[in-house]
Symmetry: C2
Subunit: 214 residues, 2 copies
Amino acid sequence: MQVAVIGANGGIGRELLPRLADAGHDPIGVVRDKSQFEAIRERGGEPRLGDLEGAFTGTLRGADAVVFAAGSGGATGWDKTLLIDLWGARRSVDACVERAINRFVMISAYKASDPIAEPEAIRPYRVAKRCADDYTERSPLDTTILRPTTLTDDEGVGCVSVAYEYRDEDREAISRADVAQTVVACLENEETIGETIRLFGGNTPIENAIRSND
Amino acid sequence: MQVAVIGANGGIGRELLPRLADAGHDPIGVVRDKSQFEAIRERGGEPRLGDLEGAFTGTLRGADAVVFAAGSGGATGWDKTLLIDLWGARRSVDACVERAINRFVMISAYKASDPIAEPEAIRPYRVAKRCADDYTERSPLDTTILRPTTLTDDEGVGCVSVAYEYRDEDREAISRADVAQTVVACLENEETIGETIRLFGGNTPIENAIRSND
């Protein structure tokens, strides 16, 4: 599959490109800036320009699936949270609908289900992610929403823990590498379509962990 | 009707309470702070505490209709735009659904339909308002969404101009007083249920202006 990764130069995006290539897919790395093209190529991706706040039409052409891994990050203001994490996500979903790219994986965030839960400092971010998730979920696309807990830059271990239902005790941090590997596994498992999966560090091999208990 | 105004001490809320009372309704003024109670009473409203970021359950009890006139305003950060203008609006809609308060009027904003239109500085606000509007519109409530252009503190003139379809040339500013009077007129005209109405300064008596052209 041609898999377009929006936010390909971000923490999870960088881990995702080589894993998609290793799994036999053709990753497309969507970035805002041509200076990032070489880094995308080095990770096995075809670089493309796409600005979630500007020109975006055409960026996703030819893709069979799209992963939204973009985020405004901690160094910008909440205005960018509204423009990138929320509106950029909606634009990405809209672009997929327009181009009939049916498979969509959203990287969301822990407790986006309950944005005004503690801690207070992260509430506005969770509001944006929750609203983006709702839009994704209601779209006609085949969607999977991943809500990882605290992210680390540790090596991937290939194992995670998931919760289809919320359990407050499940708070173990997870590496960006394992989130990325979970994205690959979800793209290859149709059982994850329509699911919102809370994702934690854990001991279950990823392919087994994401199997729905339905 | 008992009409609860969320954001009753804001620019439009203050204009709305006496107009609701004049029209024979019983206004409830929802405010964050008991220090505002006297101001609400002076405008003919029954003051109630309600915190869109905190305790809100029970605030709307007994209401027949709710007007969302709250806004984080220009003096706070974009975090409050996410928490009040977007999440607070969603909480208000949810509270109405829960209590079977079916009539809901949302005070939205000009060009919320196209958030990343110019000018750039207002885009994040429009994203929040658009997402709140979408949530309102999709709810099972009987909703009317008003999208006034630039607001002034001028005296009300009782006349406006509306656009059920977008027309770029219609940019005349409108007084908060006339927006408030339009809310009252909408509550009294079932034709406005399900409509999103762009609102400008103009020369048509409000009751006539809001009559749908369907």
